[in-house]
Symmetry: none
Subunit: 200 residues, 4 copies
DNA sequence: GATGAATGAGAGTTCATTCAT
DNA sequence: AATGAATGAACTCTCATTCAT
């Protein structure tokens, strides 16, 4: 692990612990086992460091996407939802989601950040739409508009994730997942398929 | 309008313009036509001021909820979605949504804020569930679980709103609204009703 | 004395004591009986403060210029030389000259500063040339080129002043003043006048 | 060219470009084709490096002095003046003069530097006085005090040089040279010599 | 209520220098 | 000889807050 990676990791930890508004170079330095000024040797500025962090986190989530056109499309959607929403309680995952929400909320004030997020969002929606198209081709899904479904599905899972991060224990986590499963995914299935559950 | 209200207004404007992380008392003072130090006379601290702001904004949105059990339930859901998501472009509304996202992202670091948001969230979900129950009673909606639908619907419209704020022009605003209308709301309707549109 | 003036004074003292390169806001703060951060309340930046200081010092020297066309022109030149060169030993004066040399040496790197100095220089040379013209009109001075003499005279007295500041005790202060008096000023006199001393 | 010399050269360039106050080891390192930390291998400290630089520059100017007792003394003085003052526009020369002014302004805060400059100044004045004595012996110059003239002449040419560096294009370069030539040097000549120009 | 002045803690960043290789 | 990594002190400047009026 390079020093640069260690700094990025320390930044995530500090971001999760202090929040974006109270994220100081000193706080990052405390999570990092070398001196705070070394951070400036490896990154031009705090801004530069945060951009690198965001890139890392977004790429990390993209790496988790599965690309298996053969698999059951309803299962694929469900796994996607669980990946994004279900993390609650999972320590390492919550940390990333919290950090990500912080960075997202900064987007209106930082064009570079906004572009990064927009690119990432496009990849996610393409991925979802692709699953829907696969399902339709396989005759498992009804003929819905894949782009509209993708936008809706992504809004729903991200909204649910945000609620988990924001509300913590008070988040309606189970209801949201149940809603996604029964009212979004299962509704896609053609009549014949409904005899079996979308999620087992 | 009391001085306190003027300060709260100035804070919204400053929050929208600078973002939470860069929100300074001086910035608020600039939006306010009296001196910055007067703010400290009316509010104990910045934290106190922000809590008051959040309360104001959440109550304001709650006031917008319509309580008309007679109205068409699909229309009521649609209007709710438009209220939350559709604001994009509407200047005054965007401003509040952006400020709200900022404050939401702070919740993991501020218990009082988290409680306020949790209470507000509960009110919204109750409201949605109530509409669903009304729809079922009227025989217009299928017999879905109102709580699950409420959690899903709220996640979807808030997720879409967040995307608008975060991505700006790159947000898939129309697809998300179309998805909500066609794939969430219309799917609630019993077979007979589907001949007409959910939204007129 | 306003707070602003006190800060400018503290800056002169600190500049004299530490030199431009080692002039820190903290050092200025130490010469100032209020807090260092207050300096930033009264001046936008260190640069702004230094510009104000330079303006103050240059205007102060200009105020010392005597405008008395009736006086003996040789005496007027001599007093000018003493004002600029002769200060050595005079504590308050040395302090200003040292500070001024520091600021002058910065001119190649600061356009605003360079312009200030250029304007000031023009005023001095005009003043000297005016004395020469008065002397010629009165028939006391030979017909020399007033502009050339002014440039030479100013170079000579400023060069001598710089030597005082730079070399301290090793500066050839007396020889330089004697040279200015006997070889620059007295040479201006028409033959008849030379029986008396240029300086009384 | 040894590595040490290369470093000294890089230091001059950096000093000219950034000014003494903003002269950093990193800036020197950029002008130097090897690494910044290598500078610390060859010089104990920044201070040590700058002392070496000053020595180099002062010796360099001394090497330019001509020692030709047979030559016309007025011409010798004039060439001296041109050497010191006339460089304006000459790129390489300006660079050295600017760097030198920077270092001179530091003298009040650095004893070693002050001594170096005092020794150098003494050499220059001796040289000028020597020319004057030669001129008097040859019967070309009037019987003026050589030491006083030397102090005056050196002040005048250094003052003019400083003005060139400080004021740049606004410096009264031509007037100063004309003044030196006509009012300092020519005035030294005995009556008979004045029929010819001091400078041919 | 209302203000401008004042404060002290702490922010991000720079920099001469040292160290391990 | 030569380098990139690392350090700690110090720098300018900001900011929420307080004080005197």
């Amino acid at each position: 692990m390079t020093t640069g990676d260690e700094i990025v990791d320390a930044t995530f930890t500090a971001l999760y612990e202090h929040g974006y508004a109270d994220l100081t170079m000193a706080a990052i330095g405390e999570e990092f086992d070398k001196s705070t000024s070394l951070i400036h040797y490896h990154f031009d500025s705090k801004e530069d460091l945060l951009a690198t962090c965001l890139e890392t986190i977004l790429d990390g989530f993209l790496d988790d996407l599965e690309h298996d056109p053969e698999a059951d499309p309803a299962d694929r959607l469900l796994r996607l939802a669980e990946l994004v929403v279900g993390g609650a309680g999972d320590d390492g995952v919550d940390e990333f989601h919290t950090a990500l929400l912080e960075l997202r909320a900064q987007a209106p004030y930082d064009e570079a950040l906004r572009e990064q997020l927009a690119r990432n969002d496009a990849v996610w929606r393409d991925h979802i739409a692709e699953i829907v198209r696969d399902g339709i081709e396989q005759g498992r899904f009804r003929e819905v508009d894949p782009e509209n479904f993708a936008a809706l599905f992504r809004s729903a899972i991200e909204g649910a994730q945000s609620h988990n991060v924001i509300l913590g224990e008070d988040a309606p986590c189970e209801e949201a997942m149940a809603g996604i499963e029964e009212l979004l995914i299962r509704e896609l299935l053609v009549e014949d398929d409904r005899t079996g559950d979308a999620a087992s």
